[in-house]
């Protein structure tokens, strides 16, 4: 009996151990190593000795490179806020629509989810062709309407087009989470509201949205973290250009990796990026949880 109790106490720890081991090996240790390397002049060559250089790497980022990093942070915030807001608003609306008792609704759901199963490079190639500034269908249509733009090559348009493609690619994922949220709302609540004379708008605003709040919190956090650290879509679509019009913080770090920068400096840049994302996510999460509690 004593033996059985001891095993049942140890058992949860035992089953968690493999995952914990992998987490420590592949996440925690590299993260801590990165923090350590950010205070060194590490070149990437393990055969060369490391030197502690204090906060030199951070100081460089906030002084000589500040203009580039500042511009990248501004683009990251615009990109992240736009994608998070528009994607979630569109996903809620689509989730409500495909949750109605429509014929072929599973097909609509599948079509809307389909971009999520495509790879970033495929999405990039498809949209690069659509946005081709010489012979693409969009530019030809715009020419007929008298709109003169190079689309992804136009500094005034490029960031918004990247936002559009990112939303298109991720909308289905957010929609599925909202559908799950909608299906957990009891049908009786809608029936009671209708008996009390509530309109469709009333039920959406007073029942659907408040009860979807946990799904909204999850979706907003997922898209915030994703967009604040995204670089792949942007790299495939615009490579940060034209000029620096679509250069985000993650892409800035990624591109510096290939400019022969010291790994110590890159480690410092990625720690700055981590702090930037961490602060935003903690503040937003606090606000969203508070709102959930109020509702």
């Amino acid at each position: 009996m004593l033996n059985s109790n001891r095993i049942s106490r140890i058992w949860p720890v035992l089953v968690v151990l493999p995952a914990l081991f992998l987490y420590i090996l592949f996440v925690l240790l590299p993260t801590l190593s990165n923090l350590f390397l950010s205070f060194t002049d590490f070149t990437g060559n393990l055969h060369k000795p490391l030197h502690y250089i204090g906060i030199n790497n951070y100081s460089r980022a906030f002084h000589s490179d500040f203009q580039s990093i500042g511009g990248a942070i501004r683009n990251t915030l615009i990109f992240s806020v736009l994608v998070t807001l528009v994607q979630n608003m569109a996903a809620v609306l689509l989730a409500v629509l495909v949750n109605l008792k429509l014929k072929l609704r599973n097909i609509y759901r599948a079509i809307l989810f389909m971009p999520n199963v495509l790879g970033v490079v495929i999405i990039g190639l498809v949209w690069t062709l659509i946005f081709d500034p010489i012979s693409g269908p969009i530019v030809k249509g715009f020419e007929r309407m008298g709109i003169d733009t190079a689309l992804l090559g136009d500094p005034g348009w490029a960031l918004y087009l990247v936002v559009f493609v990112t939303i298109w690619a991720n909308l289905g994922y957010a929609m599925v989470i909202y559908i799950a949220g909608l299906q957990s709302i009891p049908e009786e609540m809608y029936e009671a509201a209708r008996i009390d004379g509530a309109t469709t708008t009333d039920t959406f605003m007073k029942i659907t949205l408040p009860l979807l709040q946990p799904a909204i919190t999850i979706n907003i956090l997922i898209s915030l973290i994703g967009t604040l650290s995204t670089y792949d879509f942007i790299m495939v679509l615009t490579n940060g250009g034209p000029g620096t019009a679509t250069m985000t913080l993650s892409l800035f770090v990624f591109k510096n990796l290939y400019n022969g920068e010291s790994q110590g400096y890159l480690a410092a840049l990625s720690m700055i990026q981590f702090a930037f994302i961490f602060i935003i996510v903690v503040v937003v999460q606090h606000f969203l949880r508070k709102r959930e509690a109020e509702l």
Binding site: L14, H47, P133, P155, T238, N239, G241, S262
Partner: protein
């Protein structure tokens, strides 16, 4: 019940162990990897090795994905000649190459490392990884200038197997139809561009979406404007004896002028599309590298294309100097345990017949003596190489920041004046002084 629980946990452990071992095995296959089997090697009829020779794994990494077909062939032939050397050839896209190189050198798991050019030798971190090839007989095949470019303090650290130059391609039919002559001065060049534009033809093809193609224009302009006046200009930058501001103002000004003659929406056009569109006659001129001639020829074999050096100044003599770089080659890893096998591989690649095959396939400018490219346009480019200087990017201070690509694009887009661009470039250079190597 308890027995079932233990059985389940045992199964779970086995599953975990098998997944972990599976992961370990699959990690060998990460880059596009090719190796010939020992059976294939053993079946080779012709062999130079003796039975006493020990089996060796020769590990090679490369970033030229486009040359994979050639290297697959050459690796097979090499293994037939040396059955005891098993070639393990890994090639990844350029963007992933730095990571692969860092990982493989950190683990001493590489013998031969492909290199993008002699400019990498300026970086002491890169030089520290390389072995000296001096004294190897295969070096005799190469032209002395190419070998010199691959040396540092007398050590032969880099073997350049091809070279490239920056040129201005032009559509011969358009030039003939409009009665235009190849320009030799900047003013003539602008007049030619104006005449082409007046004839309703887009003057310059430019794929600006990737941003870096602007460097080719800057490189060509710079040669005629800056180093034609002071060939040691970049050597004096460390002491601030020379500065980008005002020397580069004219470079950016002329870039801005050329930008007005680009094909419509050029800054949104993919660089990869530009040579094909040029061959289709969508523009009369394309400022590019000699490496694009293969793509131009393949896009439309009957297209008549010529080449000249972009005249950056009004002095024809200053404009007649080609900017070149030794664009691709091989280095041997210093800690390699298989240096002999690595040298044998380079010797095999350097054999005239194999080198010819390579040169005909990649259609770059040869670095071996008495080798000529069969392509007519390559031969036309060769004529332009009477006077040469390295592209200025080969002379930059390792670790320093210049940001010329970004500023060049901003000048084209009109968001930066040439004066501001030159000032910012100088400020970036001085601001990065702590990182200079």
């Amino acid at each position: 019940m308890r027995k079932k629980g233990w059985l389940a946990s045992f199964c779970l452990f086995l599953a975990f162990a098998s997944v972990a071992s599976g992961c370990a095995k699959s990690s060998d296959n990460t880059p596009a990897s090719s190796e010939s089997s020992p059976a294939q090697s053993a079946s080779a009829s012709e062999t130079n090795s003796t039975p006493a020779e020990k089996d060796v794994d020769l590990k090679i990494i490369n970033f030229r994905v486009e040359d994979k077909a050639f290297y697959d062939q050459i690796n097979q032939a090499f293994q037939e000649k040396y059955p005891h050397i098993h070639v393990k050839y890994d090639v990844v896209a350029t963007k992933d190459y730095q990571q692969l190189k860092t990982a493989r050198t950190a683990a001493d798991d590489v013998d031969l490392i492909a290199s993008g050019g002699e400019s990498e030798l300026a970086d002491p971190n890169h030089r520290d990884l390389l072995a000296d090839m001096n004294g190897q007989p295969f070096l005799e095949h190469y032209i002395p200038d190419a070998l010199t470019a691959g040396q540092y303090e007398g050590k032969q650290l880099f073997l350049p197997t091809s070279s490239t130059t920056l040129v201005t391609f032009y559509n011969k039919k358009v030039f003939n139809d409009l009665g235009l002559q190849v320009p030799t001065t900047w003013d003539d060049f602008v007049k030619v561009l104006e005449q082409i534009k007046a004839a309703g033809i887009d003057p310059i093809m430019f794929g600006g979406k990737d941003q870096w193609p602007v460097n080719m224009i800057l490189d060509e302009l710079e040669a005629g404007i800056v180093r034609s006046q002071d060939k040691d200009f970049y050597l004096k930058m460390r002491t601030e004896e020379t500065k980008f501001d005002p020397a580069w103002v004219e470079v950016y000004q002329k870039l801005g002028v050329l930008g007005k003659f680009f094909i419509k929406n050029a800054v949104g056009l993919d660089y990869g599309q530009a040579p094909g569109l040029f061959a289709q006659g969508k523009a009369a001129i394309m400022i590019d590298g000699s490496w694009s001639l293969a793509q131009i020829e393949d896009a439309k074999p009957e297209f008549e294309v010529g080449a000249f050096l972009l005249p950056g100044s009004n002095d024809p003599a200053a404009n007649g100097i080609a900017t070149t770089k030794f664009g691709f080659g091989w280095t041997v890893y210093k800690n390699s345990k298989n240096k002999d096998a690595a040298m044998k591989y380079l010797e095999f690649l350097s054999e005239t017949e194999n080198y010819k095959k390579y040169n005909d396939m990649v259609r770059m400018l040869p670095t071996q003596k008495d080798i000529q490219n069969a392509s007519p346009i390559a031969q036309e480019i060769s004529v332009l190489l009477a006077k040469q200087m390295p592209i200025w990017e080969n002379l930059i201070i390792p670790g320093a920041k210049y940001n010329y690509t970004q500023y060049g694009m901003e000048v084209i887009l009109g968001s930066l004046t040439p004066e501001e661009a030159a000032k910012k470039m100088q400020a970036d250079l001085i601001g990065s002084k702590d990182s200079w190597k």
